[in-house]
Structure formats: structure tokens, C-alpha cells
Amino acid sequence: MVPGLVYFLVFHYGAFIANAVAFKEYVPFDGLWASPWVGTENFSRMFGDPDFWHATWNTLFIAVLQLVFFFPAPLALALLLHSLSSDLLRRFTQSVIYLPHFLSWVVVVALFQQVLSDTGLLNTFLSDSGLHTVDIIGNPEAYKPLVVIEVIWKDAGWGTIIFLAALMQVDEQQYEAAAIDGAGPWRRFWHVTLPSIRPIVILLLIMRLGDILSVGFEQMLLQRQSVGPEVGEVLDTFVFWQGIVGGDTGYAAAAGLFKGVVGAALVFTANRVAHRLGEQGVYK
């Protein structure tokens, strides 16, 4: 158990302390501790930087798209799977839709490029059929919907696991009782199924909110190039670009810290709202 604890102390709490670099002017030669303190200079520069606001805006926009389209997708899929009467078909579909979760973003992005690029599967098919081709990869306007579709393709299936489990725990007798009381399939769904899985939906929603500013670092980094930073930059890639590629370490750490603090504030708020609504939330 010692190596495990050491791991958490060094790589999580150690790194936490290393966040101090956000208040410093990092000089690689001097190392982290010897570099001079600059107070909140990095932060004031950040709030005056239009590139930072671009990144923030893109992050929020994608986050909202994900919340509206990606979050309910596993739930919808789980409801569909749950309602299938054939056990075999359900298990087969489950196996298939879990699969993309295990592919790396590199593979997924490569795959989407093969299908959707101007010489890809879709456009070849469209031009062969004498229809207009559509430029999706490399089109700034299509970028945000595209990344959301990618994440749905990759992880919506995997996300069904937890909802399916919740659905399996719904008491059969409640359905029977409702059916006897004359409730049709839709009413049973509305009054039995949905209330039963509400706690888990809210739990996941809170966790998603805390993580909302992380809209998929690897995914964005891989594709940022194809549309340029104006559209493709999110907070995580901004940090990466400034700090690790650009060497502006203190500045990038400030942006990272900003993101962390906003995320934490969102978790607290969401959890408090959940408590007020009488839900359990993530913690008490």
C-alpha cells in the first residue's frame, strides 16, 4: 500500500503544490522554487488576452453542446436496449456499442477523417450519386458539432452500462401494479421508469458539471490543427500550447488553475442545488 500512497502524495498533492508556478515567472534554469514570484501578474495578463477568451468561449460552447446532446444519448440508448425483448439481440448490441470506448482518440479521429474528409467515404458516395459533397473535416463551422458527434460515437454506448444497471434494479412489481391500474407503456415509462433512475441521472449530471470545462483534451488537440485555434482551441489545449509548446509555463499554469477553480465551484454549486431539490448528490 505504500507505493500507492506515495503515488497520490507525489503526483497529485505534489502537483497541486506545483500549481504555485501560476504565481511565478518560471525560469527553467532556476527551477520551480527559485523562480521569482510575480503575484497575480499571470492572471491579469490572462484576462486581457483575447486568445484566452476564445478558448474559454469554445470550451463553454462545446460543453453546452455536450450537455444537451452527449449527456442524454447513453440514457436514450439504455432505454432502447432495456426495452428489447430479445436477450440475445440486446447482449450482442451491447457488446458492439461498448467497443468504441476502448479505441484511442487517435484511432477514432483517424476513423472519422477517413469517413468524412473531402475524399472520404461519405463524399465519395455523395459524388458518385451525383449529389453535392459536404466539407466536414476542416470546416470551422462544422467543427463543434463534429467533435460532439465523435464523443457520442465513442462513449455513448459505454455510458449505457450504468443506466442499464439502474434500470435493472427497478422493481418489477411496480410495473405490474401500474399495468393493473391501467397505465399504458408510456405512462409506465413516465411514472415508474423515469423516477426510479432519477438519482443516478442527477449524480452523473453533477459529475459532468464539475468536469464541464474538460471537453476532451486529446480529442481537441488532435483536431485543433485542422480548423485553427480560433475555433478549435479549448482551455486545455490553450494550456498545452502556451505552456508546453510555447514555454510560457507560469502563464499556462494560471489558465489551468483558473479552469480547476471554476470546475470546483461548479461541483459545489451543483451539489448544493441537488441537495436543495432533495437529491443525494455526489457527497453530503
Binding site: 497520490f8 503526483f11 497541486f16 506545483a18 458492439v96 484511432v107 483517424a110 472520404g120 399504458g184 508546453i244
Partner: protein, 287 residues
């Protein structure tokens, strides 16, 4: 009262078929294209749905030598070693946290869960790895991601589910913690261990970002090579693939690299899939 049964059934059937198609067709295209001949790919405009004359030439070219073979070696080594380390550390810690009164208990658990909600930033982590002198060592790819909190919670939940009587009986027979872990807990936890190993193995196999910032290109794993040359669009010559005496069209080669990067996962997946729900759930619900 009841909705028309047939319409509902048909709608569900169509929905399932669409979902399956969306997932499976891309896989089919990639595998087919990697197996097709260059001419067929070019004639078809870059992709093939079903190769008329399958050939393994793209694979042979890649595996004859050069950067992909090397990266494949790195990936396999990294995945095996990393998974073993991670699994061992996670198991020990999970066991300690699952047993009442072993040590610190609850505060330690909270300390760990806290890191899950508030991860440290990218830059501090980078400085840490650099400061510890781990640049361009394989340790940089394992140490910072040694334990995954989610996996830890899954294992802990599973260990807690083992009946208390078994622990007591073992203690009466004079077994220490190590013996209990080795003789009783681990054999009973095969499903959870299988799932957690798979999660670790997949994450090590797929990892590329840390390699891209910490490692020299000579030591890159397969995913990072794939990224540079399939997505980044680097010319094959840049990456040294040409050393392998490339003659096939880039498209088939690219697809072949994609397949090589994916196949290990496809191979272990069916054997472990049945454990997913069980393994993931014990952990998730307990937490």
C-alpha cells in the same frame, strides 16, 4: 390502450440496426481497405467496403522493419509492464482501504477521492516529471498514471463484498494479511481483476500524449506514431516508414497501422466483456 405493437417493434428494430451500422461499418471499411490491393483502393477513391482480392502486403511491409515495428515493441512492453505495476499497486491499496482498521482508513480514502474531483493541472504535472529527472524514461509514462481512482474504487468495492466470515476464518487459522490477500481475496476477485487489468492495459496501449511530451521519437509507442503519420498527415518518409521499403499505397498502409493499433483490443475484448457490468457496477454503486 396498448400502443400498436408492430409499429413500436419496427421502430426499435430500425433503431438497433442503425446503431449497429454506425459502429460496425467504419470498422469494416478500415479492415477491408487495409486488405485491398493498391489499385482497388485508388480506383475506388480511397476506400473499399469489401476487398475483391485480399492481400496482406500492407501488413508485411509495415512489419518488415522500421518505425512501426519498433513502436509496436514499445507499446507491448509498456502495456505489459505498466499494467502489472498498476494492478499490483492498485490491489494493495484497495485491499488496505477495504479492510476495517488497517490504517488511516476513511481520511486516506477521502484524500484519494479528492484527487478524483480536483485533478492537478497539466503544467504542474509536467514540471514534476521534469523536475524528477524522468524525461525520456519509460517511468514518465507509467509513474504519473500509476493508479486510477476509478479502478481503485472498483476493486475496493469488490473486496468489501467478500463475506466477513472468510476473513475471520482465515485469521483464526493464523493467516496474515498477505496470505489472506493471496489465498482468499485474489482468487475470489478474478472478475474484478480482469476488468481492472483490461482498463489499465487499454489505457497504456492507447496512451500517446505523455509520450509526445516526455519521450524522444525513438521511444514512441504505436499510438503516437499513428498520430503523427495518419492524423498529422506527415509524409511517410518523415517517419521512417519508407525504411520498410514501402510500395503499397499510403491508404492501405495507414489503414493497416490503424488495424494493428486496434487488433489487440479486439482480441481481448470478447473474453472480458461479460465481466464489465458486474465489475463496473460493484464499484460504482458502492461509491
Amino acid at each position: 390502450m396498448e400502443k400498436p405493437r408492430f409499429a413500436t417493434k419496427a421502430a426499435k428494430g430500425i433503431a438497433v440496426v442503425v446503431v449497429l451500422g454506425l459502429v460496425l461499418i467504419p470498422f469494416l471499411v478500415i479492415i477491408s481497405t487495409s486488405l485491398a490491393s493498391n489499385r482497388e483502393v485508388v480506383d475506388n477513391g480511397g476506400w473499399v467496403l469489401w476487398p475483391s482480392d485480399p492481400t496482406l502486403r500492407a501488413y508485411r511491409n509495415i512489419l518488415e522493419g522500421g518505425i512501426v515495428t519498433k513502436a509496436l515493441g514499445v507499446s507491448v512492453g509498456l502495456t505489459v509492464a505498466g499494467t502489472l505495476f498498476s494492478l499490483a499497486c492498485t490491489t494493495f491499496l484497495a485491499y488496505a482501504l477495504a479492510r476495517p482498521g488497517v490504517f488511516g482508513g476513511k481520511p486516506v480514502l477521502l484524500l484519494i477521492l479528492f484527487t478524483f474531483l480536483f485533478p492537478p493541472g497539466m503544467i504542474p504535472a509536467f514540471l514534476l516529471v521534469k523536475g524528477m529527472g524522468m524525461m525520456d524514461t519509460y517511468a514518465a509514462l507509467v509513474a504519473p498514471v500509476l493508479i486510477n481512482v476509478f479502478n481503485l474504487i472498483v476493486l475496493r468495492g469488490f473486496f468489501q463484498g467478500i463475506p466477513e466470515e472468510l476473513y475471520e476464518a482465515a485469521r483464526l487459522d493464523g493467516a496474515g494479511d498477505w496470505q489472506i490477500l493471496w489465498r482468499i481475496v485474489l482468487p475470489l476477485s478474478k472478475a474484478a481483476l480482469a476488468v481492472v487489468s483490461l482498463f489499465y492495459a487499454v489505457s497504456y496501449w492507447n496512451a500517446w500524449f505523455h509520450a509526445s511530451i516526455y519521450m524522444e521519437s525513438d521511444h514512441w509507442p504505436l499510438s503516437q506514431v499513428l498520430r503523427t503519420y495518419v492524423i498529422g498527415g506527415s509524409q511517410i518518409a518523415d517517419t521512417g516508414l519508407s525504411e520498410a521499403g514501402m510500395v503499397s499505397a499510403p491508404q492501405t498502409t495507414q489503414m493497416a497501422v490503424l488495424v494493428i493499433a486496434t487488433v489487440p483490443i479486439l482480441l481481448v475484448y470478447p473474453f472480458l466483456q461479460k465481466y464489465f457490468t458486474k465489475g463496473v457496477l460493484t464499484g460504482a454503486i458502492k461509491s
